[in-house]
């Protein structure tokens, strides 16, 4: 049995808004091949499992329907590792300013 997610949980739903054949004309080839997809978060209207068709209440008070894809979805964007192409810049420009200071 898939785990039941209680009503009122903050969740994310997904749905296809336009299938490839329904998309606007004059799209680049790579975009025309894929559907227009929507993801939105809100509070789950009734208990459900991942993959179910559900309704949510959004932060603006709307009811939207879609496939339940995540419960309490995390914000996963971050920074990543320091980038070698940027790391030496501080030392380089400080050295330039110090050299200029000595000349004056």
């Amino acid at each position: 049995m898939p785990e039941c997610i209680p009503a009122g949980t903050w969740v994310e739903i997904h749905r296809v808004v336009l299938a490839p054949a329904e998309r606007a004309p004059h799209l680049p080839e790579d975009t025309r091949r894929v559907p227009l997809e929507l993801r939105v978060r809100g509070f789950l209207a009734g208990p459900a499992s991942l993959g179910d068709e559900v309704e949510i209440a959004t932060a603006a008070g709307r009811r939207l329907r879609g496939t339940l894809v995540a419960a309490n979805p995390a914000y996963t964007h971050g920074f990543g590792a320091p980038v070698p192409a940027l790391s030496p810049i501080a030392g380089e420009v400080r050295a330039l300013l110090e050299a200029r200071g000595r000349e004056r």
Binding site: V17, E22, R23, G42, A59, R62, H77
Partner: protein, 473 residues
């Protein structure tokens, strides 16, 4: 919304939906086949400089610090000829409530939405503007919906937009995240029709008048700090609002001799509606994918007549490379203690080579910063770029190739701007204007005068260019 109406059905209702959602009857301002009364459109919106400032004061928008970048200036003078190297200042717009100058654009729109009794506001934007509208809506007690182009067909989110999603949700907004494509506008129209919310468009008069306060502050604060108006103001340029509002504000404050420079990141070769290119841009705004089309034809927005009309105000339009902007962002952090950008630092990257050519007693103002954070940082963008197979190297920035190679300069003397030919952009605008006329209709007197004002040239020159086009096509 129980289910989604058909694409064609919604697009056919576009004019009615937008009219109800912005509350402006644009047809009233038409004065010719092409022409409309731009100044009256702006004047009729009911806000002058003082009332705009009063609205912004109440939500803590504006009056941001003007900070002299003494170390960046010293670095410029280290690479400049003797006697050269203008003083560089930055207007620290990150000090606005949601962290960017976009709060100025949102403030009058949201104020107007509440004054007219709309139940909420909606905005189609993947950028700082969403956070600004959500923040202002929270402050004024309105509901808010933001529609973003946020991820590609593989589900990979652009990190800077993921941060805007988080910010908008933090301010209590509903955020609709979409995959890549211009049908975002269809989804936005569905939202407006479903909710009856106000369209807090980036391109209404409210949005532009909200930026005029920034131009006025730049003029006033620069004169207080240096005894003169700025010689050059550099604005990061995308949809044209920033340049338009800032230039209008400068003029309003009397800084009529200030040179207004628009700066964009060169994204030549990447397609703005391409699913594949979406995450290969490394910049979400301030780039040529927006600025060139919006300069050569402003009326491509969510409202019938854009109040952002950049060609009327540009003295110069320059591009810089992706790697140069990341380098400038690093300089701002390590030399001035300001972690800002990166996209907003496009104008800073342009300021360095421009200040280098000017006399040392001149003053250059970079007219905005924006907040930085997770996803919205050079490291986040370059990490994603490397994941997608884009080369990130040090070297001569002329070797930068959008989508394939980002070249971070090795020395500040390598920073340069590339001037776009304004005459070519004017011709392109006039070609687009002619193409928008119904078949067989020639521009009338009012149209020719309008096109001259739009392109900052003479009526005779407009006629000459249009006649030349009809002979060659």
């Amino acid at each position: 919304m129980s289910d989604w109406p058909a694409y064609g059905e919604i697009m056919a209702q576009r004019a009615d939906i937008v009219r109800a959602a912005v509350g402006i009857d644009y047809a009233r301002y038409a004065t010719g086949a092409l022409a409309f009364d731009y100044e009256r459109l702006l004047a009729d919106c009911g806000y002058d400089l003082e009332s705009a400032r009063a609205v912004q004061r109440r939500t803590g928008v504006g009056n941001t610090p003007l900070v002299e970048l003494e170390h960046v200036t010293a670095l410029v003078r280290a690479i400049a000829a003797p006697g050269k190297g203008a003083r560089i200042f930055v207007k620290d717009e990150a000090a606005n409530p949601s962290g960017s100058f976009k709060d100025r654009r949102a403030s009058l729109s949201v104020h107007e939405a509440r004054r007219r009794g709309y139940p909420g506001v909606a905005a189609a934007t993947s950028g700082n503007y969403g956070a600004a509208v959500a923040s202002q809506a929270a402050k004024l007690g309105l509901r808010c919906i933001v529609v973003q182009e946020a991820f590609d067909g593989r589900g990979l989110a652009q990190p800077e937009i993921a941060e805007k999603t988080r910010a908008c949700e933090a301010y209590g907004a509903e955020v609709l995240r979409l995959s890549v494509g211009p049908e975002l506008f269809y989804v936005f129209l569905c939202v407006l029709r479903d909710t009856g919310f106000f369209d807090a468009s980036l391109y209404t008069p409210y949005s532009i008048l909200g930026i005029e306060t920034l131009g006025v502050e730049v003029a006033e604060q620069t004169r207080a700090a240096t005894g003169r108006f700025p010689d050059v103001v550099i604005a990061t340029h995308a949809g044209g609002g920033n340049v338009t509002g800032t230039a209008r504000g400068l003029r309003r404050a009397g800084a009529v001799d200030t040179t207004v420079v628009a700066a964009s990141v060169d994204l030549g070769g990447l397609h703005m509606a391409s699913d594949r290119d979406f995450n290969r841009k490394s910049f979400t705004t301030g780039h040529t994918g927006f600025s060139v089309p919006f300069t050569t034809w402003p009326d491509r927005t969510d409202v019938p007549r854009s109040a952002a009309r950049p060609l009327r105000y540009l003295d110069r339009f320059v591009t810089v490379t992706q790697g140069e902007v990341f380098y400038a962002t690093e300089l701002l952090a390590v030399l001035e203690g300001l972690q800002r950008g990166p996209a907003g630092n496009t104008s800073l990257a342009a300021a360095i080579p421009i200040a280098r050519t000017l006399d040392a007693d001149r003053v250059v103002v970079v007219q905005e910063t924006e907040y930085t954070g997770a996803g919205k940082h050079p490291i986040a963008q370059l990490t994603l770029a490397q994941q997608l197979g884009i080369e990130v190297v040090r070297g001569d920035p002329r070797g930068n190739l959008p989508g394939a190679r980002i070249v971070v300069p090795e020395h500040p003397a390598q920073l340069a701007v590339v001037d776009l030919d304004l005459e070519r952009l004017r011709r392109s605008y006039l070609r687009n204007a002619s193409a928008s006329l119904p078949p067989g209709v020639r521009p009338g007197d009012a149209d020719l005068a309008f096109l001259a004002a739009e392109t900052r040239t003479t009526r005779g020159r407009v006629e000459e260019i249009i006649d030349g086009m009809s002979r060659t096509t």
